[in-house]
Symmetry: C2
Subunit: 338 residues, 2 copies
């Protein structure tokens, strides 16, 4: 069996996460048991939810155990199989973690799924045609449920979730406005992703200023919003919501480090009769087939051209992950493992 | 035509509302036109939403115009009628305002409704079998939608909305826990209204302390909450919510005067995959018949025995209203007009 390179969670962050919370180790992969599959990972996905798992406190999921391989989505190729459903050379997506190889039970529900790379590049199954894409789909279609002509917004618009959200919203006849950090990202969101407008939050010191920019970009107000960030951005959006606005809450990245970020004017929930709903997409597996089909078609037809930010090897994963938390990535953050 | 006593909004509050914002005047009622009805009011309802109308800022409703009769729900008896649907002596509920008499178009939709006082006292049509009762019904049935065995909570539990909420929740097999101000109110909520427990928020200086008391009163966590107050109470409840908790937001009374009150830990919306939804009951007229029927039965069968706090005459309405905003009332706040 091949030697494996792994990154473990070594210790929990005190405040901000650092590279010293992680540890790189070399191990041996165990020989396959009957029913198991050995997968060689090609790409690892880095996602904001991982920061939450590094804490010990109450969250929607179990904390990442110390001394174990960091959790994470992976795409790869079957290198050895003792399960009849998988054969050597199959392209698969799974939750292989921060490591080169994983040994998976072939029949464990949702742990390993064969994918077709004819029209969709393998790496996109970690992004637009994977968990981030379905996340955008669920928030837009199931929570916001926009009508054609409505205005919908999204924070972290240049990222994996944001770019899928934009394509899905345009397909439904919405005006879609992004919020992102920096001119390059905003240009990309408008010129490459086809958003109607994009606001650079870094140009705005507070929620009031950002809210004014949103007013210009959303002359008919905001009917739906997808929140990946929290804090100032959410406050600014809430100030521009129309009556009966819907907000899907998928991330509160700004609050993971340090003190919780308050919501400035919750009375707007009443004033505008808003609905605010948090969700995690892994609890809604029933929508995945429908969502993945639409997302795959958008990619195959060129209507969704997601951008990727690729770290060169496993050792660079911690630094790339910390950059992601600070918004340094540009598009879906991946780690190349082969 | 009879002489009318009226209270007008004289000027808008600067910060806290005061009795000087109001003005008592005597006027003549105009002779009835064809299709109109003259109603002698027996009771005026005082409600927190009126404070919002006194401001000029953006809210879900038009501001109360200066120099006009304060808006308000009334019950009374038809004294003269030029509309075939109403005859002298009919008991009616309407939006007559802070005055002794009103002249109403008999066919204006939702402005005047005949009620049956055989089993339900007239005044209750302003409370348990009126707008506050339907408000509780909508929040509980349509937003929280509890299953039997779930735990649901409500702030301002001894008030008109809270007492109806308790009876409706018990009828659905829930554990229902109130939050109210003072020992007398809490005793009443448990002993008279039949709540399983009630917490005196005045005994708790901050959200953390209140949250601890909620943990003891809600050993299985909180599945649904009806928010009449906002601020510290909402923060404390959010800390005790279960996954997929639903919060109906109907009032943010604590924020009307002065600066907006922030929500301390909005990331709980994501962590617990909560749904928070604001509503105003007048936008959901389709539920009124079903809700009023259930509420009327609960009152008629003694399962809901709402308490009333009655100010003696129109001149005392401003002071009673300001007391309501400070939680000084005990049960549904009315003004007796005859």
């Amino acid at each position: 069996m091949p030697q494996n390179l792994q990154i473990l969670l070594d210790n929990r962050p005190q405040g901000e996460a650092t590279v010293n919370n992680f540890r790189l180790v070399t191990t041996e992969t165990a020989p396959l048991q009957e029913g198991q599959v050995l997968v060689r990972h090609h790409y690892l996905s880095l996602d904001p939810y991982m920061r939450g798992r590094m804490n010990d406190g109450k969250s929607y999921a179990q904390p990442q155990p110390l001394g174990e391989v960091m959790i994470g989505g992976t795409v790869g190729v079957v290198e050895e199989s003792r399960h009849p459903k998988f054969k050597v050379g199959d392209s698969v997506v799974g939750m292989g973690g921060w490591q080169h190889y994983s040994v998976v039970q072939g029949d464990a529900l949702g742990m390993l799924r064969k994918v077709d790379t004819t029209h969709v590049p393998l790496s996109h199954y970690l992004g637009a045609v994977g968990m981030p894409g379905v996340t955008a789909w669920y928030g837009l279609v199931k929570i916001i449920a926009p009508k054609a002509g409505e205005t919908v917004t999204v924070s972290a618009a240049s990222g994996a979730v944001g770019s899928a959200y934009g394509a899905l919203a345009k397909a439904r006849g919405c005006r879609v406005v992004g919020i992102a950090g920096g001119k390059d990202k905003c240009d990309y969101v408008v010129n490459e992703l086809g958003f109607d407008a994009c606001i650079d939050y870094k140009q705005h010191a507070d929620a009031a200023s950002l809210s004014k920019a949103l007013r210009d970009a959303c002359p008919n107000g905001i009917d739906g919003h997808f929140e990946n960030v929290g804090g100032k951005v959410l406050d600014a959006v809430m100030l521009r919501t129309n009556a009966f606005a819907r907000i899907a809450v998928c991330g509160m990245i700004a609050g993971y480090d340090g003190a919780p970020l308050p919501m400035a004017v919750p009375s707007l929930i009443l004033i505008n009769r808003m609905k605010i709903e948090g969700f995690i997409v892994s609890e809604h597996m029933e929508v995945w087939p429908e969502a993945l089909q639409e997302l795959g078609q958008l990619v195959a037809t060129g209507k969704l051209r997601p951008r990727e930010s690729v770290a060169p090897n496993l050792a660079s994963a911690p630094e790339a992950f910390l950059g992601l938390l600070k918004g340094k990535n540009f598009g879906k953050q991946l780690v190349k493992l082969i």
